[in-house]
Symmetry: C2
Subunit: 446 residues, 2 copies
């Protein structure tokens, strides 16, 4: 028992989980550490944020997913540092966890380009909590507009702003337009939810910039079909409660969502090796860090150039492939075989935009609209973790497709947030200050 | 249009919603006001708290449920007072809503018998937020025990305490025992979750005291079959972080859940009429308040004696019947017909205890165990709001029955609560003080 090398994996996302799966019941002892008890199927997170799916339908307890792995222990914990020389991981309560091999796969968040204070006003979408918060804000905006229109007769415009035209931004913009135009339209009386205005700001000259140009253009026109206003070459330069500044103009809005920038987990910097501007760790071709053949960094935290000079993209297939490749290299070590350098295999990329709307690029073949959307649908159900979740999600989608409804339209959270939200939209200084104080109190308590 | 009388309903629970349903598309204008956007199917709330179902599966947007009612407007808002003479409801932002008829159906919460400070340590189960918080605490207790056992080799006992042997307490105790014994057992390696100790404290000499004595006794032995320790004639006299005082003894515990006492919504007292000790409004036989034939109080907020001298019980069928009866009386007024006095029709009562375990009393016929459980199952799916939810819930239950698993095992919330929770269990004074400060900050912000 004790002679088996110990592999510690940090993070139960696609990278860490796929490494753990590949090491299951192999001659190693595995400890997987995550801050959360659940793996999130990130590609469907925007569907929780837009009330199609419930959190439990896209998240599964990590220990449940790999409970067949008798050599794997899952620990809820937060890693705060490393002792790379003595091969130890340090947790937030000071506990040390020894390793022979370490796989760091703690992912990334959105970057606010030095304006972390914007996050309160413009949340990003990386966790279940983010998704529930975005859902709350989006649904609340409609409720408050209805309330004002009914009780006060005021008729204000409903504005949703999404910053960033990558996959997440496009998905959110399309889904919110879909909610406003279809799912909610019949349920509101004092307002016409179809009047809601969804604007997507993108700094470059096209959305989905990692795709071929014809697909980007198709995505833009598919978004416009849904009623989304796409504004290219537009930089958001400031954000305040209830408004965003684009170039020199302030634009009033009910909800701002942030979907741009990458900030790798800050624990990457604790490894003591070079990182890029986004905090990603420069890794060797075998995904290890310089000087430590036993420490791997994978997924969104890793910075690696492919043979063609392009960086490996920060997408889930790359993370899964890195996880599996790392496991293979560790097992190769144990058999005294040579390690293999990591090669990313691009099996195709796709992005969904809305009902019957998507784009896909598979080995150079370009698909647009309904056919791309069907491909997206099947692929995502297929990859969704857990047999049960697949059935439930299929059923939810089938229901949503038939009825054009959203089934998870819950506004949860502090009952008294309503008053604050209302004031927030109206920019009442006192309440805004109070909310900030509250945020600070939370920070202190952390 | 304007000559139609306006009915304002406060609360979208069973009482308010059934009133709204009965008034749908009738010659009245209806405004339904609720603090939340969703109706919660309360009888299944304990299944969210114990990770069987997701919040979205038992909660539906109120405006969705009655969107076929063209005369009904749903408003998200918090009622803070009344001007009964001028027939107005006052919202928290000062807005007034005029009514011709008023139906107050704002429900009840658990009462802490003058110790509201216990709520932080011992949450009750009335809202989706409560359920998610209880789920978090229950699952976190197992995770922390596993972590301690694995990292530190400490082997401490896992104690779950439920205060109150009514239906909610019995459901929670049975379900937590079920989790520990079946759902989690295979997923933990360092601890044996089956060692977890679930204790139910009940002040009287039997559980489910509103049922016949033989059913109470059956319920107790069914609970014991599941491994729950049932302690009757036991009063909890104090609660502090990580421990409860029963009689003179302090008992250490990981999670305390509160399931006793009734405190009607405080807005009942704002009506200016007599209330009982629990804050319930004494109503006339037609459910109106003395002196105001146009103001009805129904559901858990109403105190009314039946002809046999027994009070109408605070159960969902009574609330539904009151809602429908009130709507009928309002419509009778409009046709200048006589009102009818409310009569509660007891179609049978049941309580569920766990897998294949329940009791039921239908017109004096007593059912116990599997047959009672099947009755409970079909009745609850039948009454669950929304066709889609019924299918999803059936599927979830079928899956849970087959596999003995729980599918909604998510620990959500502030990522940094982990450290606090750990310290909380260990009773670290500094962190406890910090948590209290945070709670207070929240209160202030409210």
């Amino acid at each position: 028992m004790s002679i088996k090398p110990r592999v510690v994996i940090i993070g139960g996302g696609f990278g860490g989980l796929w490494a753990a799966k590949a090491l299951a019941n192999k001659p190693v002892e595995v400890t997987l550490i995550d801050r959360k008890n659940h793996h999130v199927f990130q590609p469907l997170l925007y569907q929780v944020a837009t009330a199609v799916l419930s959190p439990g339908e896209i998240a599964t307890p990590i220990r449940r997913i790999i409970h067949h792995a008798k050599n794997t222990e899952v620990i809820l914990g937060e890693v705060t540092g490393f002792d790379t020389e003595n091969k130890k991981v340090i947790l937030d309560d000071g506990t040390e966890v020894a390793f022979d091999y370490l796989i760091v796969a703690a992912g990334a968040r959105h970057a606010y380009f030095g304006h972390d204070d914007w996050e309160t006003s413009a949340p990003g979408l990386k966790t279940i909590e983010d998704a529930v918060e975005i859902r709350r804000r989006v649904l609340l905006a409609f409720e408050l507009a209805e309330r004002d229109a009914y009780l006060k007769g005021t008729r204000r415009s409903l504005n949703f702003v999404i910053v960033g035209g990558g996959p997440t931004g496009v998905e959110l913009a399309g889904a919110i337009a879909g909610i406003a135009r279809q799912a909610l339209a019949k349920d509101f009386m004092a307002i016409d939810t179809r009047d809601a205005h969804v604007v997507l700001f993108e700094g470059s000259d096209r959305v989905l910039g990692t795709f071929a140009r014809d697909l980007s253009e198709s995505a833009k026109s598919q978004l416009e079909d849904l009623g989304v206003e796409v504004r290219l070459n537009s930089f958001v330069t400031d954000i305040a409660p209830g408004k965003v500044k684009v170039g020199e103009d302030w634009i009033g809005c009910d909800v701002v969502l942030w979907a741009t920038g990458v900030a790798a987990s800050p624990i990457g910097k604790k490894l003591g090796v070079a990182t890029d501007k986004a905090g990603r760790v420069f890794v060797e071709p075998d995904l290890t860090i310089p000087g430590h053949k036993n420490i791997f960094v994978i997924g969104d935290m890793a910075s690696l150039k492919q043979e063609n000079g392009e960086p490996v993209p920060g997408v889930s297939p790359a993370a899964m492939q890195m996880g599996a490749a790392t496991a293979d290299n560790i097992l190769a070590d144990l058999k005294a075989k040579d390690r293999k350098n990591f090669r990313y295999v691009d099996k195709g990329t796709m992005a969904t935009i809305g009902r019957s709307k998507a784009i896909a690029d598979v080995q150079g073949f370009h698909f647009k609209g309904f056919i791309a959307w069907m491909m997206w649908l099947f692929l995502h159900v297929f990859f969704l973790i857990g047999f049960r979740n697949r059935i439930i999600v299929l059923l939810e989608w089938f229901w949503a497709y038939l009825t054009r409804e959203r089934s998870a339209r819950l506004i949860t959270g502090d009952a008294n947030e309503l008053k604050n939200a209302l004031a927030f939209l109206e920019g009442e200084d006192a309440v805004v200050a109070e909310m900030q104080k509250r945020e600070e109190a939370k920070q202190v308590a952390r």
